[in-house]
């Protein structure tokens, strides 16, 4: 099937009224949670995952993905208007977006970021369309040892390229792997770490983990901080949205560079939901600018580059997820979880065996981004209003939705109790520096990692050299080892403020 046939198939799938409706629902919810600080898109996706049980797999993924990239659009609104990042990846937008608001240029800033988001996404989707099928083809020749090595690299990257201390990030990954093993061992039928509880025999649901670590923990840690919320006094009229000719001129190249940076970073594992792409794009813009002193004081390039980058990364993150079955960050792990809930085994066969799912999803990205472009600007007043809902009325409702959402999975009170337990313990661990995203990645990959290890060792008659003898596997493991050495070297160095944290 060539690209045009595939896209045609994608359009017929994505244009059904059901899929269009779920796409619209997804991007709208995404916009709202992106705008609202204190509810991340991770929380929103996990909240809505139970709902997707009742719809076909394609519609489910279309909606969940819509929340993700919709939130990337919405996130910049709170950053620009209130200096409050709605999502982690739009934190960078605050640096130049808020000064623009103070200078009375909020309208143009919002319009330009919307366009940058759109362009970044579109360019990245084009890369996805052309890169995914050959990559999946290549991945079909991978052996279990190669898969094992690839997952190890992904997990090491996710653990060590995190915001906090790399060693604790790695500990989070291992903890996630262990939680993923709870339940019946498919090979021997042995119960593992179930402590005699029948509810744990089939394992812990990804929804329980995600709701606890991203939903409840986020609510608990936001409660104190959100009470002193600033009010937006900015009013935006349609006429005030138009940028000047000079502002337009400063938009194009940063947008292109940002898209390229974002697409590249998004493909890499462990890069965490676009925030790294946005920071990198900001650095690139500042370095390539003729007037770097303007950055931080309202430079247009300082919002367009990062905004294009985080949207591009949000789309290209789907490349490894859908072609290799290896999620790059926590959201992609949730997407894989949704696939598995619908009985689709992630991996390179998804494109060939469920082309309508893959291409329908890809085309829904195109449609969803158009919807966002259209929704964003006329509705800016609505988004600003949403920003004024007091958090103290919002969070009890979120908690209630988490409870009923988890309960509705199996009508099991034990699942709800597990959420309480995981969030109570998880909250303390996260406060001590553990990280939720690498943990979730480990959780989803745990069983797959074990299975591929078992298979490779069985085929090699117990020889561990199989991982070094195969060139693909050796390359991945070599990269993982290099990363570990680099990380540990950084740990042993005398204490220095890391540039990433001191910059913000």
């Amino acid at each position: 099937m060539d690209v045009w046939d595939s896209l045609q198939l994608g359009f017929t799938v994505a244009m059904t009224s059901q899929n269009l409706a779920y796409c619209l629902l997804g991007v709208s919810v995404g916009m709202v949670v992106g705008v609202l600080p204190g509810i991340g898109h991770l929380a929103a996706i996990s909240l809505l995952m139970p709902l997707t049980f009742h719809v076909p797999a394609t519609a489910a993924l279309v909606m969940l993905a819509g929340i993700y990239y919709g939130a990337q659009y919405g996130g910049s609104i709170a950053s620009i208007l209130l200096n409050l990042p709605g999502t982690a990846s739009s934190a960078v937008i605050c640096l130049d977006g808020y000064p623009l608001t103070q200078q009375g240029r909020a309208g143009p800033a919002l319009l330009i970021t919307t366009i940058a988001s759109f362009v970044g996404s579109m360019l990245s989707i084009i890369v996805l369309i052309f890169l995914a099928p050959p990559l999946a083809q290549l991945a079909l020749s991978f052996h279990s040892a190669d898969y094992f090595a690839m997952m190890v690299l992904g997990l090491v990257a996710a653990g060590s390229i995190s915001q906090g201390k790399p060693l604790i990030g790695l500990a989070s990954v291992v903890l996630g792997l262990l939680i993923g093993l709870v339940g019946i061992d498919v090979n021997s039928g042995a119960m593992r770490m179930t402590f005699g509880m029948p509810e744990l025999f089939s394992g812990i649901s990804i929804i329980v983990i995600a709701m606890a670590l991203f939903g409840v923990v986020e609510v608990i840690s936001s409660i104190g901080k959100m009470s002193g919320r600033k009010e937006s006094k900015t009013t935006i009229t349609m006429r005030g949205l138009l940028p000047t000719a000079n502002e337009w001129r400063q938009t194009f190249w940063p947008m292109m560079r940002g898209s390229a940076v974002g697409t590249g970073v998004g493909i890499l594992p462990g890069t965490g939901g676009g925030s790294m792409a946005a920071f990198l794009a900001y650095a690139v813009e500042k370095r390539s600018s003729k007037t770097p002193e303007k950055f931080g004081k309202g430079a247009i390039a300082g919002i367009t580059g990062p905004e294009a980058a985080n949207n591009a990364a949000a789309q290209s993150a789907f490349i490894p997820t859908l072609t290799l079955g290896i999620p790059g960050d926590a959201i992609m792990a949730l997407m894989l979880g949704a696939l598995m809930i619908h009985g689709i085994a992630p991996g390179p066969r998804v494109i060939t065996e469920s082309p309508e799912l893959f291409w329908g999803l890809v085309v829904s990205f195109l449609i969803g981004n158009f919807m966002l472009l259209v929704l964003n600007i006329p509705l800016i007043q609505v988004w600003v209003k949403i920003l004024q809902i007091p958090y103290r009325l919002l969070f009890p409702v979120i908690i209630l939705l988490i409870c009923i959402g988890v309960y509705s999975l199996n009508r099991s009170s034990v699942d709800v109790m597990l959420v309480a337990g995981f969030s109570a313990v998880g909250f303390l661990l996260l406060k001590a520096g553990f990280e939720a995203a690498p943990l979730l990645l480990g959780f989803i990959l745990g069983p797959m990692l074990e299975e591929n290890l078992r298979r490779s060792l069985m085929l090699s008659r117990g020889e561990f050299t199989v991982f070094i003898e195969r060139p693909i596997s050796a390359t991945f493991l070599g990269l993982a080892a290099l990363l570990l050495v680099w990380v540990i070297k950084g740990e042993l160095k005398p204490k220095l403020a890391s540039p990433a944290t001191s910059g913000s």
């Binding site: 262990l178 209630l400 009923i404 309960y407 009508r411 009170s413 520096g433 990692l449 060792l457 740990e491």
Partner: protein
């Protein structure tokens, strides 16, 4: 004890304790051989790995003075209780009363919450959420019931 307030020290010790706990639990699952991995093979290795990483974090914790952050205990306790209350009540008295209890308990997490406004929120939102899930999505959960 300065040490006990250090973020990294606590993280390292927790990782070690969890690792050791996993080793203890999984040690009688059957380790097997690399060629025929038993059910305990992979978890034991991971448990060991977690213990070692925890040890490294603990040993290195002296060089970083970051303190364990202050926890809003009221929020922490109230939210946990709200979820537990839902788990215990929903299958006994139905979604309506359980939802109201959960919403009020969760609302109590914020010092500035107004009891009357919370109650108003509860009586409007709880039926709406119930309609969404039971009518909209066909989740079978009665609004009011009595079973102990």
């Amino acid at each position: 004890m300065q040490r006990l307030q250090s973020k990294n020290f606590l993280a390292g010790v927790s990782a070690m304790l969890i690792g050791l706990f996993v080793i203890a639990v999984t040690s009688d699952y059957g380790f097997g051989t690399p060629r025929r991995m038993g059910p305990g093979f992979f978890p034991m290795i991971l448990g060991g790995l977690l213990t070692v990483i925890g040890l490294l974090i603990t040993l290195g914790s002296g060089r970083d003075s970051a303190r364990f952050p202050k926890v809003d205990i009221r929020a922490y306790v109230a939210i946990t209780l709200a979820i537990l209350a839902f788990a215990i009540l929903v299958s006994r008295i139905g979604f309506g009363p359980a939802g109201i209890v959960t919403l009020l308990l969760a609302g109590a997490a914020d010092r500035g919450s107004n009891a009357l406004r919370l109650l108003l929120l509860a009586v409007t939102i709880v039926p709406a959420v119930w309609l969404l899930f039971s009518v909209g999505l066909g989740v079978q959960v009665p609004f009011v019931m009595w079973r102990f």
